[in-house]
Symmetry: C2
Subunit: 455 residues, 2 copies
């Protein structure tokens, strides 16, 4: 097989997390990207191949240098986005979950029957996520086939790596009449059509955008639908996403209806695969963790929405220590911030609340749970390589044969709250500062599969 | 006494919190500002004086109209900033408090003996806070007289309303030799000089910038110093700031050393006045609350640093319900974000963690503390009028005779994550969205005392 040709070589400081809790900083490194958009080499000064690569790239006019205040990071991976909820970002967070769903969310999602409405909102959402450095996103769309396909097309047009699901929800007991699939059969048929149409979209031969089997969550689906979607998952090998043990109500509902946890129930329906991502998993127990690990299923940790709608914080430390595949999710719009860097800090913050506890009336010994904190290194892992792992995609670190999905963070952008000073900051201090204060104004360039999509 | 002359009149939509938990939105309102920078009138269409004021302002060429997507909010009040820690924003948050203080913070603060270093950092800090909409800030400087005065001058030059304290800390048991006042006497003398110099700064006749008596916290001060500063507070009538019952260690230290809580101890030293602001107060008890209320002392709630260095979350709901004067503080750099709007959402988020709890292994009934949440309305109160009340300043709402300290939030700023749509959002939804997603790019204009300082 012939060597793919060199597309470009970047020289600059790279920061990535090659393993959980490990931050690697490579100064003046070279990253070579081939014509397929894959990383063909990563090398540092002193390596035997460094000078040759630099010389070859220079001669071919393909060497690009980052400025000293610029850092190359892996593109950010958002493993849980409800695309139709975008206009609701930051709204109604003071309402109880039931009201939030029935009075705000479902009526809003129902509007995506209107293709023109969907077009405007989805264009703006995908543009905004890219601007915030999200190179891969796992989206819930709505029950509507047409606008769900349109979301997939928009991701492809804007160049974002995306996994998109037409939502399946047919349970009349839990879903309003104006917003649910007409029947399990209809939901399955629409899902199958969606699974056919997305890979066939013009320009999608390389599978940049993929379809996802998406039972909303167990309460919203009949057993017939869950069974059918499980069979489809086994047959098609497609990705699957759903919510799992998110909050007290939902977790209790499934225990009551199926006599077992979400994890066991989803597993029994054939919905736990190596290409499944379970959002939240806040109330999974030891046994659930074992099942999820055995199935090589991914988890989307959504720290911000944990603190609003989940009644507890996902045990991130424990899950990472057990070797589960955990990525981060914004959970737009249950989570009110579209930035995965922001969700990195929230993952740390939420874990600090777990470790120390929050109630000053309790004595320190019983207030928190020792050993449950994570730090910015683990959060950064989840935001990048961990998300890639959860999705089964080779993205999220600078390693040969991984896709070149990357962002440049400019620490000296004007109008930014980030303060990095050469004389005071070094090493992973800089990454921590980026996580805490970089915003979209600092995200200067974004590539997906070697293609520049923000500059 | 003659009527002050009209400086300008703004017409547009105003949003403010005239009382705890109450958001008032005045569409097409007029705010008249006089030559002293005070609000001379606030009126809405339909009021008898509206047409006359509009006509008078138009004829005088003094009517300015906000665009439909612009909202006028009170300027934001930050009641707790460690100015010298600015370069440390977002750094070392993964370190234990002791290491954070001894290895990072104290060595950094010691550098402000260097006036040139102080100059660069303080200019950048004050500029950044203004850019984020902070019109009033209560600052800790360092132990150094010269650079502390310089901070006060910089605030005045940049036009920010500020209260600045030269830090007093003389206890050899708790403060490193390289960074403490030489003696209680020296600290008192320097504080007195600071109290004389700040009011006398050229251009400060109206008291835009004021000096603050600033014992760092009880552990850092000898009783001799605390006694002297208390006498100075009583004699001078100046503002006072210190930390109070922030975390387990500090709270326990004071119980051990003085046999009483921080609140009682500070009160006994004469440091609890109507012009005192106590940072944190996480571990104050019912009796402490009564003492603080009786003294009309303010509290600075710092939600972000609560979750990193305080071992618990301040009981904001309880304090507001008891009628205490509570403002918000960024606690830079124990809190890693310079924006008070961001700290509004963190105040809500932290209170949600308190109400629901965070540990999924506990049953719902014992996981959290019912009735402890606040929502964005209370957070916004604390960020504006509550902060003003805590400081004893007439700022933070649009009321006649209050200072015109205000910001314009542009909800359609390019490169913003804020999504406000006329057809979907109305009323205080818009405020909630602003709190959750406006950043400095949305803060288009900033006035302090009627003077435009960002545009």
């Amino acid at each position: 097989m012939k060597q793919e040709k060199l597309k470009f070589v970047l020289r600059g400081t790279l920061i990535h997390a090659p393993a959980v809790g490990v931050v690697e900083i490579l100064e003046n490194a070279l990253v070579a990207v081939d014509n397929r958009g894959q990383i063909s080499a990563v090398t540092s000064p002193g390596s035997p191949d460094y000078a040759a690569l630099e010389q070859a790239a220079t001669q071919a006019g393909k060497l690009e240098r980052l400025a000293p205040q610029e850092y190359l990071l892996p593109g950010l991976v958002d493993t849980h986005v409800h695309a139709p909820q975008w206009p609701q970002l930051g709204k109604a967070l003071d309402r109880p979950l039931d009201e939030w769903l029935q009075q705000y969310t479902f009526p809003l999602e129902a509007r995506y029957a209107d293709a023109e409405f969907a077009e405007r909102i989805y264009q703006h959402l995908v543009h905004t996520l890219i601007a915030n450095g999200t190179t891969t996103a796992l989206y819930y769309a709505t029950i509507h086939l047409e606008s769900s396909v349109r979301l997939a097309e928009i991701c492809l047009e804007q160049g974002q790596r995306a996994l998109v699901g037409k939502v399946a929800m047919d349970n009349p007991d839990q879903c309003p009449e104006y917003y649910r699939d007409a029947s399990a059969g209809q939901a399955l048929e629409d899902t199958e059509r969606f699974l056919e149409q997305v890979p066939d979209m013009p320009g999608n031969a390389d599978g940049l955008v993929r379809p996802v089997i998406t039972p909303r969550f167990i309460p919203a689906c009949t057993d017939e639908l869950l069974r059918g979607l499980g069979e489809l998952a086994q047959r098609s090998g497609c990705h699957v996403q759903t919510h799992c043990s998110e909050g007290d109500w939902e977790h209790g509902y499934v225990l009551e209806r199926h006599g077992k946890t979400d994890t066991c129930s989803l597993d029994d329906f054939g919905l736990l695969t190596a290409r499944t991502v379970l959002a939240h998993c806040d109330f999974i127990n030891e046994s659930d963790m074992g099942i999820i690990k055995g199935a090589q299923t991914g988890i989307s940790h959504c720290p911000l929405s944990n603190l609003y709608f989940a009644n507890a914080v996902f045990p991130a430390r424990q899950a990472l220590d057990r070797g589960l595949q955990v990525g981060l999710g914004t959970d737009i719009a249950g989570g009110a911030n579209p930035g995965i860097l922001h969700n990195c800090q929230m993952a740390v913050t939420a874990s600090r609340a777990r470790e120390d506890g929050v109630n000053p009336d309790l004595p320190p010994a019983t207030r928190g749970t020792p050993g449950t904190r994570i730090d910015f290194r683990e959060a950064f892992w989840m935001a990048t390589a961990g998300g890639g792992e959860a999705l089964g995609l080779k993205v999220g670190k600078f390693v040969k044969d991984y896709a070149f999905d990357a962002i440049v963070v400019d620490t000296q952008a004007p109008d930014s709250n980030l303060i990095v000073r050469e004389d005071l900051d070094e090493g992973d201090d800089i990454l921590q500062k980026i996580i805490y204060n970089a915003d979209r104004s600092n995200i200067k360039r974004v590539w997906v599969q070697g293609k520049l999509i923000k500059s």
